[in-house]
């Protein structure tokens, strides 16, 4: 569980990135943090594993204040996958890369090799075990980075812009993967601009603008609210746009799911004389 209590954060350069953020993320939640560039999304999630400490206010992760502990200790519970895999890959083989964090956390040798096999298998990378991460494609590198974090089985997983540079197939795999994580009762937090991806997943959405939370609720409510969407300068998902334009026909406005939309439209057509 992550509790954010009235957090303010100011960068050394003087930019105030968070201005009084309060929020609770319960165990097993699936949260998407959204908002335009510079809204403070990444700054907020960097607080969750202690990379940044609030200038004012407190963050509690499972009841522990992030000020009172080290990043290494927090990272054991909170896995953070960065946006760009090139910012973390440095080993000679994918296997080594995945083992790196496990060694840092002091796992036993046989546990490490078991975990590495498990994580590589989970992300379909077993064939690249002995390949240099630098030889892999962008999507594969991203998966190695993800495997290197999931290997230590953190309770909370934070994904910063997981869909950037991924084709549709990879996105779908990612979505399945997140569903799988949720079945394991993990808390998943994603930071993203990708409204269509969020519409498909339908998580809880935290909408940020200028360092503040402007809305917090289910995706089908937030992403279909014209006022909120304008305020945070995001474009509603295409399904929502269609239903907004069809509002004269008395159709519901809060639809973002393709299958639900299809059903509503079919019912509507059949119901007409």
């Amino acid at each position: 569980m992550i509790e954010v209590k009235d957090v303010y954060f100011k960068y050394p350069s003087g930019v105030e990135a968070l201005k009084g953020v309060t929020l609770t993320i319960s165990n097993g939640d699936f949260v998407a943090v959204m908002g335009q560039n510079g809204a403070g999304k990444t700054t907020l999630v960097k607080h969750f594993n202690g990379l940044l400490k609030p200038t004012k206010g407190d963050i509690l992760v499972d009841g522990v204040n992030t000020r009172d502990t080290s990043i290494a200790k927090l990272a054991r519970t909170v896995g953070f996958v960065f946006q760009n895999p090139d910012h973390q890959l440095f080993c000679e083989t994918a296997e080594e890369e995945v083992a790196f964090a496990l060694r840092n956390f002091g796992f036993e040798k046989d546990v490490i090799s078991k975990r590495v096999t498990w994580a590589l298998n989970l992300l379909g990378l077993t064939q690249y075990r002995q390949t240099s991460p630098f030889m892999l494609s962008g999507g594969e590198r991203k998966r190695v980075a993800l495997a290197s974090v999931l290997a230590w089985d953190p309770k909370i997983v934070i994904l910063d812009e997981p869909t950037i540079g991924q084709d549709h197939q990879q996105k779908e795999k990612l979505r399945q993967f997140i569903i799988q994580l949720r079945e394991q009762k993990k808390t998943v937090v994603i930071v993203t601009h990708d409204v269509e991806f969020v519409a498909e997943c339908n998580p809880r959405v935290i909408l940020m603008s200028e360092g503040k939370i402007v809305a917090d609720g289910n995706a089908d409510r937030i992403l279909t609210d014209p006022n909120l969407v304008t305020k945070a300068s995001i474009v509603p998902p295409q399904i929502a746009q269609i239903f907004m334009k069809l509002s004269d026909f008395g159709l519901p406005m809060n639809v973002i799911d393709v299958y639900e939309a299809r059903k509503i439209l079919l019912d509507f057509i059949e119901g007409r004389p």
Partner: protein, 266 residues
């Protein structure tokens, strides 16, 4: 990173910022030469004080102080090394306790370093990278070199930011930079350095492609929108620098500089 903050240019306007970079560079070089000429404390103190009005006129006190703070660690090392090694070397002749002039000498060596740092920091704080490149170009340095130089200067903050992100990413994977003995701590930086170097190389290749696609080197003779011209103020600064050098050479040849400690005792 604080040392680099003392070299980061901020776009403001002041009489110092408007000086010709060539004149400023000449002045800084003269300061450099004078600082190396003297190993006594008194002239170095004077050199140090001469620069303070410049800093205030340019309005860069805060950044300038930060560069001094960044240099303080190295300055301390210089002081300790000078003191300890000179003392060990001279102990058969002078015995215990160490004489005051030894401390004064070590202080002078430290101050020499600080004078060098502060003058260069002043130069970089008040000269925009663009003007610097222009000055190099007009001093008939080949354009390729000028370009490489300005690009390097421009990419320092970008790389610093990237290094920070990489550090965050590796810390999130349980890397503890401050853990272990001296050798282990150096090894801890490998996971930071490799991604940083790889991305710098990748970035430079991308930059090269972008330049090629914008017809880099297509014309033999490049012309510039702005042309640097020496103004009265610039000539005054150069004259001042020459005057200082002449005075310094005279003092160096004909005046015996007293030790500060003997002056105080008088």
């Amino acid at each position: 990173m604080s040392v680099f903050d003392g070299l980061k240019f901020r776009r403001v306007s002041s009489p110092i910022h408007q000086l010709d970079p060539r004149a400023k560079f000449f002045y800084v070089c003269i300061l450099f030469v004078i600082a190396v000429m003297f190993s006594q404390l008194l002239p170095l103190i004077i050199l140090f004080l001469i620069q303070i009005p410049f800093v205030f006129v340019a309005g860069v006190q805060r950044e300038w102080l930060r560069s001094l703070k960044g240099a303080s660690f190295l300055a301390t090392i210089i002081f300790v090394f000078n003191f300890v090694f000179n003392y060990i070397y001279r102990v058969p002749y002078i015995g215990y306790p160490p004489p005051a002039d030894l401390i004064e000498y070590s202080l002078a060596m430290t101050l020499r370093f600080i004078v060098l740092v502060e003058s260069f920091s002043m130069f970089f704080l008040t000269t925009s990278p663009d003007l610097l490149g222009l000055a190099l170009e007009q001093s008939h340095v080949p354009y390729e070199f000028c370009f490489a130089f300005t690009t390097a200067v421009r990419f320092v903050p970008v790389l610093a930011e990237e290094a920070q992100t990489i550090m965050d990413a590796q810390k999130s994977r349980g890397l503890e930079l401050e853990k272990g003995n001296f050798l282990k701590r150096i090894r801890n930086y490998i996971p930071i350095l490799i991604p940083l170097i790889v991305s710098a190389i990748r970035r430079s290749l991308e930059l090269a492609e972008a330049m090629e696609s914008r017809a880099w080197g297509a014309s033999e003779r490049r012309t510039n929108l702005y042309v640097l011209k020496l103004r009265k103020e610039d000539i005054a600064l150069i004259a001042m620098a020459v005057g200082m050098l002449t005075l310094a050479v005279y003092v160096w040849l004909y005046v015996k500089i007293p030790y500060l400690t003997t002056l105080i005792l008088l």
